[in-house]
Structure formats: structure tokens, C-alpha cells
Symmetry: C2
Subunit: 412 residues, 2 copies
């Protein structure tokens, strides 16, 4: 049975019992009123699961949240933008702890029921006093219709706030899932400077929620890449508060497939929003590898092509340069035979058996594909049956220019 | 005993008995007189060794040359620029073979005594008739003083021809080594769109020449990286013709250390010339990693930092952004402890124990380092005793712009 997944408004506030609010406390810019602190919480007890960055340099809030998640069942997330609280030493850990403490007190819950997120500049101490002073106001703010302000408050170099929600029906009960996310820059496998917070009113076992979260993250956030860098702060959290009153979802039990389909769909939607809004990129490109001897080989090829600076530059110039693509296939480390490789641009064969395809497809036709905002590069290795795909972007002169200077941060 | 290595003029023609010449045969541009075909040869029998690309997609001339090298002792190299003869199928192999055949006939030597090199656009058939017609003229051209024309003829997007020569004294005999090279774009470990041809009049055993060539390539061309891409055509060839009349150099015998020092020095000089002339780059940066648990870990860290798009963008902007550097250290895959990592800019400590160093070094001082044309990033992992270094560049908006379109090549 196909799950019917209906889009709806409300973002993280769409599921029953969830609230979100945001405020400006001058982290991004003391002289502006840009939102930079957000709170998302369930008014009743919840369970939560998370996927964190695989970077060995983990920001303080990531370390703290991973600990709290092992110790308790969180029902709130406090997040600031403008400062990553990363590479900030013991003081940074203390600041993250204080953010959780003050939030817990304001909500009347236990300290370890609060997860902490931070995104922004690395290596600079948080303006912690300004943050702690404003946290108590957050639960008191009037509820906005679509929780859009929370999505705004977690933005850094994003150009648009990112939120979405879906609803499904499980055994007659309406179950909702909502999300906000931020990305831009440094997006890569295993996620990077990427935050995504998902709420759901589903009633679901913790084991099943963990399984579903890992699966969905693997099919979405772990398959997007902009510049190959990985962040110290990446975090995906899913909180479930059981308010939909469906029969509890367990492994392979009723509703399990439907819930996972809905979560996969929502995370993929958020991942595509993130990659499309990468810093100064102009295209969203799917790189799809088929016929690999193993899935690992397929992944190596897909990532080598998706991260090749020269391939990405050529897309920016609307140049259907398959030579650079086969080049990246060749150095990917995967076992390939050049004379078996075929390359397609939105299904049009540019390369057959490793050389230019003599099939009447004109350069102009291929150029038309690469000139689009969205297209797919298909790579057929003809070595086996494994496949893999990733979503990536082009590389623009404006991206480099934008990243030449980070903030005007004084250091020392 | 320290080897005294003296720079001298003459390029590949500096060693006794070597000649080089170049001609325009309209591969780069049929309507211009740009040099695009070069011949380098020894007038007497020689031995040769080579290091080729590790890309699994190998251009026809690379495959052919590797075969000939196993079968005979080459004493000539024929090279064209403007077309890589890569991804050109069986016709490409036939063209490479014809280039060797015609050259061998013109020089009166055996076919397998000729190695072939090609660099330029991928996937387009060579204009083989124009090339074969002009090859016989090459041995007849008047000798120019410094063989500069051969260096010019192998250029693609290089802005300057690259050549150098050195001389050493072994047991009273003067031994010379000369080189020409081309690089630009796509330079990475294991070399990329990189050609380097070295001549020497040393008398040396083949085994010792192989050992010296591998060592020198590992310490030079395998340590430069511009954009992380690897070419299908990379080739380093060293030819030795014994005309210096020194006692034959064998493993650990007299002159062995001196010859290797000279070859290392010459290859490193050529590698630095290549990386400095990378497409639209403005800086040459050494990334030096110390205190790693293993050499592989040190290499992983050095390459992750040297290839990080965000790190390279920040250098272009003169931004001493150590946050992005420690970030790349964290995702390198090496075993590191963030709280032990120190980062230096030309010896000035920016990061101590993984956080901003509070030592009175000002942001301005660090900015002054990154504003230079050459500087060193030192990364101390404090995990062990292994080290590694690579040479890399910044990433400029102009680099991306330059690489948006390759040639105006019609395909299909």
C-alpha cells in the first residue's frame, strides 16, 4: 500500500502539542534585530533521536546534546545562530550547559530534556550573557501561525528560511511531521553546517524512531554535497510526543512503513532545499551511478564526480564537458573499466564505451540540458548491479568570492 | 658530504648529447602559429624510466609509452599539446603508435625507443595527419640555445614556459640534469595534466634510475595539489644517456646520493613552478603536518586542508581563518584529538590546544602572513612523530570563471 503523504502548513508547529518561538539577542549583529535564538518544544513529554556530525572536531553543543540524549528523553531544543560555539574549549562546554539549564528552568523540565544547537562562526566565545538573559522570554512569546520565525532564527548564510510539514493517516489517526532546517556552504556527506529539527506527534517506539531517523538521514542529508567540507556542528533531531494517539509504531508493525516513507520524504525535501540554497550556487544536479560492482564503488564514483571542482565549474558555464566527468570517474578509487563507461545528460547519451557517442546527439542538445537549473548526470559503469546517487551543485565565481572572508570577526 | 647543486641554463639540452626542437602544426589553433609539437631526443642510446598517472582512465599515449618502456630503452619523446588523445578509443591508440613510428623513422631508431606524450582537450580525435606530416622536420630544426621552444610547445593553460637545469660533480666528472614541464589546472597528488621530461647525461644503472625517479616524484609532483582532480595523461620521464662518462651509479654506490639529491631538487623546483602557475591562483602555500600518529594520518590531514575549498577561498581573501583549517583537520579521517591541535601561520601560533591562542598575537599579524604570496601553515597534532607536507594554492573567483568553459570545442 502506497502511503499518501499530504503537504501542509505549520512547519515544526504542525504536529499537535509542539510550539516554537524566536527572538533577537544580538549574536549575529548587536546593532540589528535579526532573529538568532530559537526554541522548539513539546508541551508534553516526548522522545527524541538524533544524527550528529562525523567530524572529529565536534562543537560543544553537539557533545552536550549527544550526552543528554543518552541520559534522558528530550522535549525541547534551544538553538542559536551567528556563533557555532566550536573550538571554544571548556568555556564553550559550560556555555552550552548553561543554555540547557536556563531553558529547562523556563520550561519547568529537567536540564537533560533540553538539546542545544549552535551554528555560525568557529572559535569565538558565545556572547553567553545576552543569550541567557533572553531565553526565559521564549516560552512566553505569542504563538505565530507557522513557526516561520524559528526557521528564520537558525539561518546563517541561507537566503530563505526552510520549513515544511506533512501529514499521513495511520489506522484512522492523523499523524503529522514538521521540519525546519538551515544549510548553505560547507554541505557534504555526513552533513555539514546543517541543522534540521523535526517534530512529530506520532506514537512510536524509540528503537523504531532511531531506525527511521538513520534511514531517512542516509537517503537525504548524507547525499548532498556542495563543497566537500564537513561541519563541526551538523545535527538532525527528531522529537516525537505521541499526541496523535495512534497505536505505537514498532519495527515492521502497523504504520511503520508509512511513518518511514513520510520521514524520508520530509528529510529529502529539506535536503533539496538546503542544497538548492547553497552559497551562490545556480544549479541542483543529481549524480546517479548505475552498474557498479559494489555500492561502495558506486558511492565513490558519485562523490568524486559531485565534488570535482572542474566538473562543477563546467556546469556553471553550461558546458556539457563529459571529459571532466570520466576523468573524475577514473580517479574515484572505484574499480572501473574506462571502455565500459557510458555517460548521460538527462538521459541523452554523451559517452558510449568511454568515448564520444556517435549517435546524432548534438553538442547543442547536451548544452541545453546543462543550461537548466536542474538536471541529472547518469553514469553507467556496466560492471555489476549496484547503484548510488547524490545531489550536488555547480561552483560559481560568486561562491568563491562570497567565501573569501568570513564575517569581520576580530580575533586576538 | 653535501652535494653542491649548481643551477645552469640550457633546460633539457643542458646535458651532453641531448637535443630538443618544436614546431607549430595547428593542433591548438589551426589559424595561429602557436608551438604545439615538441621532440626531445638523445643522439646516442639512452635508458629511461617513467612515472605515469594513477587515474584508471589512461590516455592512449600513456598506455603506449608504458608498454614501450617495458620493451625497449627509449631515447626520444614526441609530445603534442592542444589535444590529450584521451577517451579516443582504438583510433587514439593507433594515432599514438603512428606518432612513435614516424618519429622513430625520422631519427633512425626503433619504434619502441620513442615515448609519446599528449596534453589538452579530452575526447576529441587528434588531427593526426597534420602531426605526422610535420614530425620529420623536427630533427632537422636548428638547435636553439636553451631549448626554450620545447617548453613552450607543451604548454596548455600555463602562463609561462617551465624549464630548469642543474649540474653536479661526481668523482671529478660533471653530470648535468635538465627539465621541461607543464602543469596548470587539475594538479593533484599523483600528478595531474602534468608533464615533466628530464634529461641527464649521467651514467646510471636502470634500477638506480628507477629508484631515484620514484623517490623524487614522491617528494615533488605527488605533493602538489590545486583542485584535487587527477589527470588521465600525467607523465614524468627521465632519460639518461651516459655521456658524462662518470663511473656507473648503482644502489648506494659512489654518486648515488648526489644524483638523487640533484634529481630531487630539480623535480621539486619544477613542481613549485607548476603549482605557482596554477590557473588563476595567487598564492603558493605549504601545508606542513607534524606530530601525527602515522605518516598516513599526517598525509590525510595535509591533503584535507590543502584541498578544502573553504580554506582555499579564505586564503584568497587574506583571511587567517583557522576555524576552517581545524574543521578540515577534523574531517580528514585521521585519528586526531581536537584539544591537542595547534595551528601556525608562518610560525605564529593562531590555535593552541584546539582553541584560539591567547598569546598576544594579533589578528593583524596573522592577516599579514596570509596576505603574502608564499606562506606555510603548520599543523601540530601532538599525537606522535610522523609528518607530511604538501604544496597547494588558494582558490580564486577567477579560477572558477576561467574553468567554466573549456576551449570552444564542438562535440557531436
Amino acid at each position: 500500500m502506497e502511503t499518501k503523504i499530504v503537504s501542509r502548513s505549520g512547519g515544526v508547529c504542525a504536529p499537535t502539542g509542539f510550539r516554537a518561538s524566536a527572538i533577537s539577542c544580538g549574536i549575529k549583529d548587536p546593532s540589528s534585530s535579526k532573529l538568532d535564538l530559537a526554541l522548539i518544544w513539546s508541551r508534553t513529554p516526548a522522545i527524541a533521536t538524533a544524527v550528529f556530525t562525523q567530524n572529529r572536531v565536534k562543537a560543544a553543543p553537539v557533545q552536550l546534546s549527544a550526552n543528554y540524549l543518552r541520559a534522558d528523553d528530550p522535549q525541547a531544543i534551544i538553538v542559536n545562530s551567528g556563533n557555532a560555539n566550536a573550538c571554544t574549549g571548556p568555556a564553550g562546554m559550560e556555555h552550552a550547559r548553561q543554555m540547557a539549564d536556563v531553558t529547562a528552568k523556563a520550561l519547568g523540565i529537567r536540564r537533560r530534556q533540553v538539546l542545544v544547537g549552535s551554528t555560525g562562526i568557529i572559535g569565538v566565545p558565545l556572547p553567553i550573557d545576552r543569550i541567557l538573559a533572553r531565553i526565559p522570554e521564549l516560552p512566553l512569546l505569542k504563538k505565530t501561525k507557522d513557526c516561520r520565525q524559528a526557521a528564520e532564527a537558525i539561518m546563517t548564510s541561507d537566503t530563505v528560511p526552510k520549513s515544511a510539514a506533512v501529514e499521513i493517516n495511520i489506522e484512522g489517526k492523523t499523524v503529522r511531521l514538521g521540519a525546519i532546517a538551515k544549510g548553505a556552504g560547507m554541505i557534504n556527506p555526513n552533513m555539514a553546517t546543517m541543522l534540521c529539527f523535526i517534530t512529530t506527534d506520532a506514537c512510536i517506539s524509540k528503537t523504531e524512531l532511531q531506525r527511521a531517523t538513520r534511514e531517512a538521514a542516509d537517503l537525504s542529508f548524507n547525499r548532498i554535497t556542495i563543497d566537500g567540507d564537513m561541519s563541526t556542528n551538523d545535527t538532525v533531531v527528531v522529537m516525537a510526543n505521541c499526541r496523535a494517539e495512534n497505536r505505537r509504531i514498532t519495527a515492521r508493525g502497523p504504520g511503520s512503513r508509512q511513518f518511514r516513507d513520510a520521514l524520508n520524504s520530509l528529510m529529502l525535501k529539506m535536503a533539496k532545499k538546503i542544497v538548492s540554497d547553497g552559497e551562490r550556487v545556480t544549479k541542483l544536479v543529481e549524480v546517479r551511478v548505475n552498474g557498479a560492482a559494489s555500492q561502495l564503488d558506486a558511492e565513490k564514483v558519485a562523490r568524486a564526480v559531485a565534488n570535482s571542482a572542474l566538473v562543477k565549474c563546467s556546469w556553471n558555464g553550461n558546458d556539457p564537458n563529459w571529459g571532466r566527468i570520466i576523468h573524475a570517474v577514473g580517479y574515484s578509487g572505484a574499480k572501473i573499466k574506462p571502455e565500459l563507461v557510458d555517460i548521460y545528460f538527462d538521459g541523452l547519451c554523451a559517452t558510449k564505451h568511454g568515448i564520444a557517442h556517435q549517435n546524432g546527439i548534438s553538442f547543442k542538445q547536451l548544452e541545453n540540458v546543462v543550461s537548466k537549473r536542474n538536471f541529472t548526470i547518469g553514469i553507467e559503469l556496466n560492471q555489476g548491479r549496484a547503484d548510488y546517487h547524490v545531489f550536488t551543485t555547480d561552483f560559481s565565481p560568486e561562491y568563491v568570492d562570497y567565501n573569501r572572508r568570513e564575517y569581520a570577526a576580530p580575533q586576538g
